[in-house]
Symmetry: C2
Subunit: 134 residues, 2 copies
Amino acid sequence: MAAPSPSYTIGTLARAAQVNVETIRYYQRRGLLPQPEAVGGGYRTYSETELARLRAIKRAQHLGFSLEEIETLLSLNEETDRVKARTLAQDKVSLIDARIAQLQEMRNALAELVDCCRHGDTAAPCPILRALSA
Amino acid sequence: MAAPSPSYTIGTLARAAQVNVETIRYYQRRGLLPQPEAVGGGYRTYSETELARLRAIKRAQHLGFSLEEIETLLSLNEETDRVKARTLAQDKVSLIDARIAQLQEMRNALAELVDCCRHGDTAAPCPILRALSA
DNA sequence: GTTGACTCCGTACTTGAGTACGGTGTTTAG
DNA sequence: CTAAACACCGTACTCAAGTACGGAGTCAAC
């Protein structure tokens, strides 16, 4: 058998995911994270499932997605309308592709800047501005 | 000679950059955009320089940078301490590289999802969650 | 030469994403 | 068995990034 997945209280879950307890509650209020049924004394318990989701949310956020976007992203799977899900996913793919391309330009601009500095090339026009004015 | 660059009022500048007039003022207050001297009747005039900067800000923002980050990014050029500028730029480069890598994973996850949908593969675990739990 | 569109500036409101607070009930370690 | 630490819930506060508003002055077209 697999090791029994540990069960978390909201506090241990928060620590495991490196977020604030209040953040979890906030996500639950927003419907972004499920709120398990409370058992016994009214405390709720969480599993790896919630932890994974919480971590995914944080990652996606760092990638520049809003909670609203993340919600649709994470719900793509549950989407029963396969056609709709596919369209949405495809849209996101091209959006992300564009974002990647721009980040790459920016990256190169910065790398160039690093180079300029190394060579003491003072008078060059701002490569960052240039990269961002594509 | 080059065509004389047109000069903008705050309103035309705003329209050209597709932002709100108030946003421009806000950026000026934050010191993110220069506030040209007012001439004549107290109106300020803007040039392509400001337009370019404004557009760059918007782009960088869409790439997930905060105004504060953008401020340091755009000021890297003016930075006279070459060593400091280089370090900062290098840090940003690795940060951006990481971001690109994650976006790529996400992109692939989504593409995979599109594929699953096409093949009617319903029971697979969420590839998006998987991508984001790296 | 006045009217409508626009500028300036200060202050106030809004939205997204949390954070903090306070009262009450629960669990657990000593 | 009790004190400290924690959970629950509702409400309120904060911070970033705008947006809106209102009064006063300016410009441009008719």
